[in-house]
Symmetry: C2
DNA sequence: CCATTTTGTTTCGGATCCGTATCATTCTCC
DNA sequence: GGAGAATGATACGGATCCGAAACAAAATGG
């Protein structure tokens, strides 16, 4: 249970972490891509294209394209659902875990200096 | 001085705020645009294209385009520096203040439920 | 003065993303 | 088995963004 951040602390945290994201070499993820990635890693599976589209309130092609681009980066992978072959199950990857661990560390570290 | 956020808290905060950004009607800002906007509003003026490019470690056209798009949204404005007319001074706007106030409130509010 | 430097913008080709509409595959259920 | 529904991918036209290079305007300094 962390103490609630003040607006000033919040904006400084947002600023510092975004700046660090710009500075590092990895390509920036869009807000939608980041939302997909964090949803897949934080919420309980299974994750389908339709389910993610509903959760984000965006159209299905947005999810398909986000999975394409993040799949190319190795951050997520896709697998057919053998029980219902219409479904695609979005799965975590080692690289995705490492990416989000680094992000979580960065945010935590930045939050310390507020 | 807030308590340091754990990685899990950090990722949940990131997830929830990004999801809220996707859900609202305003167009999402890119990571670079958000960095420019927060730099202009949090750090002391004056802010020039060159200075912002150096701070973000990106090329000048990136800043020019970010100012174009955010200017169209009314979040920042430009003015010639009369003392050195080569310079462009990036200025805050009422709409930009309101935008970041809402963002700060959203982050603070989200941080409360961690 | 006038060449040089500095600053910001524009152009260019290429890549990405958007929403709508359409398509291919698979399942459901009578 | 066949019509219809459900699921995800793809096509399309338009918008945006990228970095590198070229450009225009203004200041600097011999």
């Amino acid at each position: 249970m962390a103490h609630r951040l003040s607006p000033a602390q919040s904006m400084k945290l947002w600023h510092d972490v975004h700046l660090a994201q710009v500075h590092d070499d990895e390509p920036d993820l869009s807000v939608r891509q980041m939302s997909v990635l964090l949803t897949v890693y934080l919420e309980a599976p299974p994750h389908t294209v339709r389910g993610l589209a509903a959760k984000l309130q965006v159209t299905k092609p947005v999810i398909t394209r986000a999975l394409d681009s993040m799949g190319k980066l190795g951050l997520v992978s896709r697998r057919r659902d053998e029980a219902d072959r219409r479904n695609v199950l979005v799965q975590r990857t080692v690289k995705g875990v490492l990416y989000l661990e680094r992000l979580g560390d960065l945010i935590g570290q930045t939050s310390e200096g507020l």
